[in-house]
């Protein structure tokens, strides 16, 4: 569905994305994981034509960028990292504007607005000004807006940033339901839990480069499914094990207190870069 070959984006001397190669299948829920400045948002901006690549080839559903710009715009939906709804309009008017921009006929527009306000549970607030909405409500409305024209690919740039845990989980449910209906979803996140819970596959980016690509479970299993952590003097140490039994045997041989837990994508990132995702 999405093919990226040799994508590079430079801002002056700084390389934001370097020689990125990815192929994302139809119906896949794909995550770009990495710390701030890793190149996730730049990648989304290039894919959605908000910025031009320095080098590389991109195709979405067989259409090439930038030649098929209009066709690609009609088949993608974008939820930006910024809450970029029009605060001078109501929720309905925001959706109406989007429908008009995508040349959706009047009757279909009216029906779609009601459908989507129901879907994101904002029907009762449809006629309220967007500036009165909470962050979570705005984010849900942005998802509704991005879905308005029945896109084949949905780009979500840090969809749950700044939201409290309850709202975040509610949005995860919404995103899962979209993917289960066959929509291809490409999301960026720096939340480990989000990538692990939502994504079929994850590409880990660091300083603009792809450093790992696989399913969350495979990436973790590559290190070892279990990790033992202990303190050696003032230094925190860790070691990975393929199974819990071996890990427990190792702990038994230690002279200090140690914990056993399942490995996660944070461990993968730390192993590959020596840094934490949140740093």
């Amino acid at each position: 569905m999405i093919e990226i070959a040799g994508l590079t984006k430079k801002y002056g001397d700084r390389t934001a994305v370097s020689d990125l190669n990815l192929a994302i299948s139809r119906g896949e829920l794909f995550g770009l994981l990495g710390p701030n400045g890793a190149g996730k948002t730049t990648t989304i901006k290039v894919l959605t034509m908000l910025t031009q690549p320095t080098a590389g080839r991109i195709a979405i559903n067989g259409c090439q960028l930038p030649q098929d710009e209009r066709r690609i715009k009609a088949m993608i939906g974008v939820v930006s990292q910024h809450l970029n709804l029009d605060i001078e309009l109501t929720a309905r008017e925001n959706l109406e504007l989007h429908g008009r921009l995508h040349q959706i006929p009047v009757e279909a527009r009216k029906q779609r607005i009601d459908e989507l306000l129901d879907f994101v549970e904002l029907r009762e607030r449809g006629n309220d000004m967007v500036q009165t909405f909470s962050g979570g409500m705005k984010r849900r409305l942005m998802i509704a807006r991005a879905l308005f024209h029945h896109p084949q690919v949905l780009f979500l740039d840090e969809p749950t940033v700044g939201l409290d845990p309850g709202v975040r989980r509610r949005l995860w449910g919404l995103i899962r339901s979209l993917a289960s209906e066959g929509l291809t979803v490409l999301l960026t996140t720096h939340y480990i839990e989000e990538a692990e819970n939502l994504c079929n596959r994850v590409a880990i980016l660091h300083q603009g480069k792809l450093i790992a690509l696989d399913s969350p479970s495979s990436l973790c299993q590559g290190l070892g499914e279990y990790v033992v952590e202990w303190l050696d003097g003032e230094n925190s140490k860790s070691r990975f094990f393929a199974d819990r039994l071996t890990a427990a045997e190792f702990v038994g041989a230690l002279t200090t207190e140690a914990t056993i837990r399942r490995s996660n994508l944070e461990d993968v990132f730390v192993e590959l870069t020596g840094r934490k995702v949140a740093e």
Binding site: R70, V78, S80, N84, E88, L89, R100, L101, Q103
Partner: protein, 246 residues
Amino acid sequence: MIGQVWTVFWRDWIVLRRRLGRYILARMISPILYLVAFGWGLGRNIKTSHGSYLDFIVPGIIALNSMTISFNAVGTPVNMSRLYHKTLEEYLLAPISVGSYVLGKVLAGVLRGLISSAVIIILAYLFGAHLWPNGWFLLALFLNCAVFAALGLVAAMMMNSHEEMSNFNTYVLTPMSFLCATFFSANQLPAFLHWGIEMLPLTHASYALRQSGMGGKVPIVSIIVLVSYFGLFLGIGICQMKQVRE
């Protein structure tokens, strides 16, 4: 194309319609002050070749007011939309042409300029001014609004902060407001300044509005200058919109 322009215009019309009463009320303050200060106060003892000073300055006030309103109706919101609210992305992501967006925004700015000018014309009659708007007058007014709405879009795309937008107003619009044959004839200026002033669009808007508003023949050169400036700013605006993707 027309449908896309209408959609961009529609958004601004919805916002304006919601606050039309307040908008009209706010547009009355500045013209009333001009009319009181320059028409009744200062102008009571001034006679011009056009009759009373009030009759002379009303077209000038309409020119400068429609300039400011049309410029700010586009410049400030588009600049905010590009830099702060990021709502410009909604249009950049949509399958519409750049020209549609630019034209839609310019027409929305023109509408605000025309409403504001209508308010001034009504107030001018109440103050006792003699003005006879005809087709040429409306054409000159429309073009003046269009020129400065397009310039507002150019400035919104060029300026990278709210402060820079404010500086553009200070260095470009404010000097024009006072010098471009609005409050006095440009002939009274020193030759070198007069020559420079004659190159500016607001001067020609003032000439065209004054001549046509007093029942005279509209200076065609002024109309040509306004059309040329409009084409120039529209073209630059479209180019800048295309380059807005870094």
